[in-house]
Symmetry: C2
Subunit: 158 residues, 2 copies
């Protein structure tokens, strides 16, 4: 189910892009994520990718933001929330989105290597799983893709 951006989505994506820039400044692949209440826009969790710093294969931006939001509401269910993330989630993160019952997912650029929302898999819209959510792809996609391109170009030039 593909939807269009709603009230808070673009502002939240700009916040996620700022987080992605902080990741890049620390030498991490630049991805940022924000979890917010869909109606109010209140932020419950936000993070950037910290895999290298934390030496933790689960430390993707959206994964950390969702866990922080669950702590904020003392529940593992986030049906009333939206997630804005600059890059299409991988299978691990899409699986967490299903497990946490996140209501909506707004994302920036597609991930041809591991995208599990519509590129390699469509995990968020599989009738066999026990949750499906609205998906808004392509929000500020060029800004997100530009950050990733610049990051990998700078790695190659080192």
């Amino acid at each position: 189910m593909t939807a269009t951006p709603d009230g808070h989505d673009e502002a939240m994506m700009r916040r996620a892009l700022d987080l992605a820039r902080r990741a890049a400044s620390l030498g991490e692949v630049p991805v940022g994520a924000v979890v917010y209440e869909t109606d109010s826009g209140r932020v419950l969790g936000e993070a950037f990718n910290r895999r290298e710093q934390d030496r933790d294969p689960s430390a993707h931006a959206e994964f950390l933001a969702i866990r922080e939001a669950c702590r904020a509401v003392s529940d593992w269910r986030l049906n009333h929330c939206s997630l804005a993330v600059t890059l299409e989630p991988c299978p691990m993160c899409a699986g967490l989105i299903v497990n946490a019952r996140v209501g909506r997912v707004v994302y920036g650029t597609d991930d041809p290597k591991a995208g599990a929302v519509r590129t390699l898999y469509a995990l968020l819209n599989d009738d066999r799983l026990n949750h499906a959510c609205a998906v808004v792809p392509g929000v500020l996609a060029e800004e997100s893709a530009g950050l990733l391109r610049a990051f990998f170009r700078s790695l190659r030039e080192k």
Copy 2:
């Protein structure tokens, strides 16, 4: 790629079953998991499902065990390790197994509702992703399935 049980696999699955029983005693869905060095059998991480207690949608047994193992070796890569888990991993956990480059996965019973190793998806053997691993399904499967059946029966009788 399906393989057969190796030296330490059955002992590790018995340990994972003991962990699953501890989960059940706390009212959690009984799933247990152990991460061990494939050659030596040295245990690097072990856990049982703690989703309700932790109010954390990522607190599946194998997820916690893998993160513990990464902390033990100070690395996000576990190519030299095997994971024994009593239930077929879900998409989130299979995604983490790929992201953490776990070398081998030994599991007990198939999960018809969310299994992402061979039931609904085959995430551990997808050439498009950047890691594939050996899979040993069905190890002590009846014991694992029996624990799950007894747990859900006791819930219905409450």
